[in-house]
């Protein structure tokens, strides 16, 4: 699981980086490629335009100089240099040649003026040069002279004297264009396909041999810049510009692969950087995933320790992130688990103790049913918790039947402890011949000593004289029991309450006085004694049974004319039906004594 999370984090980071970087790279290369192509095209076009403009300016200057010298010659019949036959060394024009073309078939050099040195091309000795002058004039062209340097001759003509002045100047623009140190090859060619001049290091016929397609569609040189395939099917960039003279074009050819070499270099570099970044990302991913999974592994190890029963662990909390928060929470959880386990253990101990107390308390209660001479008793007890605060008891003492009902304040363990106190106190009185008020007074003092007035009990003590059927009773603020006569058509108003004794609760005061009251019973009378838990019985709708409901249940069962056991069982069953298994609010205790 650990490696899986680690791998997932690494994959997530790497794939995210790979995708984003790839998109960026592809986009960048695409944009750069477009920009580079545009740059190369523009650069070639601008370069050619610059060259041609420069050449046109040279041609214009040459023409002006020619006209000046021709005018001078016409005026003086000689060049104004007078006795000098040389031009200045730094002169733009390198030579002026006056040619008589009276006979076009045999033109004659009349006069000349040149720079003194560095004009190695001996025009005057070139017969072809002189012979081409009439034709050049006729076609209104300029002449391009051979040699390493590019010389151009411009011809002006005096028609009246049939004299032509040939001005020779060196074109720096074209000289520069044809230099061999360029990234491209340079050509000057006409629309008829004649290659007038080319980069000197190329073999003659190179263009026709390497780029035959160019000559099949010569119009393409008018397009500025376009792509063309070589004979080896390589892509080349063709740029051209009109020279503005003699129907000539300057053409450059650039190997596209070489031109885009920088771009390829850049792409390769970018790919290398991309791979380096990706490697970095993978390393960072490895580090990050290791960091995260290490913390999780630590937590996992700590969890194993807890499973193994070692709760005294403390996971180191590093940093201030979600993992550290988880570690902190884990530590808190471990502390809480220890506390919870201790509480649970303590709860289990308490539960065990309560069960023991419950078992002990059961011994405080008498058997639920007992027959006496002239009397019969049956009872029911239900506690709201493990230990209850209700208590009931009975015993027979010579000619008397004693019955007790007590209810401690509250319920649970503290109340149960008081019930054990009253049981002990009552047990002491069982074998003593004493009046009810004396007996309950003794019990009160016993409760006071035990509870120190912190807990009290309501209590009802009834004593039936079997011989006279008189019940003497003392009520220490308990619910007043009532007598049901043996009739089976009793109504609520027929109930007779034993409510003529009202005394302090047990445990309230050591000096409490207890007043006894008496009631004559008849054979067949039934005394119903109960605690206040009965009216508090609730159903699922949280509706209390109330006193009204209790009387109804008691009267219904009594009027069936059944014996005391059946009566108590029937009452209990109806209470249970009403309760619908909901929890008791208070202990529910009741019993009935039948006088026979």
């Amino acid at each position: 699981m650990n490696s899986s999370i680690k791998r997932k984090i690494m994959l997530l980071l790497s794939i995210t980086s790979l995708l984003s970087s790839s998109v960026f790279l592809i986009y960048s290369i695409n944009v750069f490629e477009k920009d580079k192509i545009a740059y190369i095209y523009d650069t070639n076009s601008i370069y050619l335009e610059t060259i041609t403009n420069q050449f046109k300016n040279e041609l214009k200057l040459s023409s002006e100089i020619s006209k000046k010298y021709l005018t001078e010659y016409q005026k003086n019949k000689a060049f104004s240099s007078g006795d000098s036959i040389f031009l200045d060394e730094d002169s733009f024009v390198k030579g002026l040649f006056l040619v008589d073309i009276t006979n076009p078939a045999s033109p004659q050099l009349v006069d000349k003026i040149t720079v003194k040195s560095n004009f190695g091309y001996k025009l005057t000795e070139d017969v072809g040069f002189l012979k081409s002058v009439p034709q050049t004039l006729a076609e209104s062209k300029s002449m391009f002279l051979g040699g390493e340097l590019v010389y151009v001759s411009d011809v002006v003509y005096d028609a009246s004297e049939k004299i032509a002045l040939v001005t020779v100047f060196r074109s720096d623009a074209l000289q520069s264009f044809f230099e061999t140190d360029k990234a491209f090859s340079s050509f000057m060619m006409s629309m008829s396909g004649d290659v007038v001049r080319q980069t000197s290091n190329l073999q003659a016929g190179y263009l026709k041999e390497e780029f035959p397609t160019l000559f099949t569609r010569l119009d393409s040189i008018k397009m500025g810049t376009s792509e063309i395939k070589s004979a080896q099917q390589e892509d080349w960039l063709l740029s051209s510009s009109s020279l503005g003279l003699n129907d000539l074009y300057l053409v450059t050819l650039t190997n596209k692969k070489e031109a885009f070499g920088v771009l390829t270099y850049l792409i390769n570099k970018s790919l290398i950087v991309f791979l380096m970044v990706l490697s970095g990302v993978v390393l960072v991913s490895q580090f990050a995933s290791t960091y995260v999974t290490k913390q999780i592994l630590t937590l996992s190890e700590a969890a194993k320790q807890i499973i193994g029963g070692n709760f005294k662990i403390n996971v180191p909390v590093k940093g201030n992130d979600e993992i550290s928060l988880l570690s902190e929470t884990f530590n808190k959880m471990a502390v809480e688990m220890v506390k919870l386990l201790e509480d649970t253990a303590q709860g289990a101990r308490l539960e065990a103790e309560l069960k023991t107390a419950q078992a002990v308390q059961q011994t405080l209660f008498p058997p639920v049913h007992q027959k006496f001479e002239n009397g019969e008793i049956h009872g029911s007890y239900q506690s709201a918790s493990e230990c209850g605060g209700d208590w009931w008891h009975y015993f027979e003492n010579e000619q008397k039947i004693w019955f007790w009902m007590a209810d401690a304040t509250g319920h649970g363990a503290p109340a149960a402890l008081i019930t054990s106190a009253i049981k002990s106190a009552v047990a002491m009185t069982e074998n003593l011949k004493m009046e009810p008020e004396v007996a309950i007074e003794l019990v009160n003092k016993s409760i006071c000593q035990v509870s120190k007035s912190k807990m009290m009990m309501t209590c009802f003590l009834g004593v039936i004289d079997k011989a006279t059927r008189v019940v003497h009773y003392v009520n220490a603020s308990h619910e007043a029991p009532f007598i049901l006569s043996k009739r089976t058509d009793l109504k609520k108003k027929d109930l007779r309450f034993l409510d003529n004794s009202k005394c302090n609760r047990l445990g309230q005061s050591m000096t409490s006085e207890f007043k006894v009251a008496s009631e004559q019973l008849e054979a067949g009378d039934r005394i119903f004694v109960y605690t206040d838990g009965i009216p508090d019985i609730r159903n699922k709708n949280e509706e209390s049974l109330q006193e009204r409901g209790m009387f109804k249940v008691v009267l219904e069962n009594h009027n069936k004319g059944v014996n005391v056991s059946q009566f108590i069982t029937g009452v209990h069953a109806q209470f249970e039906t009403y309760r619908e298994n909901t929890e008791l609010i208070d202990d529910v205790t009741f019993f009935a004594v039948d006088v026979l």
Partner: protein, 156 residues
Amino acid sequence: MSKLQFTQSNENGKTVLTLNGQIDESFPQELHGLKPAGDMVINLDQVKMINSLGIREWIKFMGTVSAAKIEFVKAPKIFIDQVNMVQGFITPNCKITSFYVPYFNEDSNAEKNVLYSQGKEFGEGFLNVAGSVKGEDGSELELDVVEQKYFKFLKN
């Protein structure tokens, strides 16, 4: 169930204490320090429940205000039950001048608490208990307590 709350005011020179909620172990300790200047009226109309732990607190409270003449008004059935049953629940300096008597119709489950007032339904030497009353829906509601038991406190 709500904890017992109380308000205290003065009307015609008497301290009027109005209680609201249940009388139980959460009994307000401030009431144990209450020292009414003169007579006191305790309105019990909104007392909802009394348990055995509340009885102990109440008896303690009765001891702290034993010097004053106390008049209980609008006592609910749960209060009257305790008065009838628990010795010392109200002290001799107290008298109940009005209390509720519950009526009930078993067929319709309709309930009604009728306020009995001193000088009207009961007084020195007389008690007029209506066996039945008319409910809000016109039905006949019968007395929902055992007369012998419920009105016993008036005889003491």
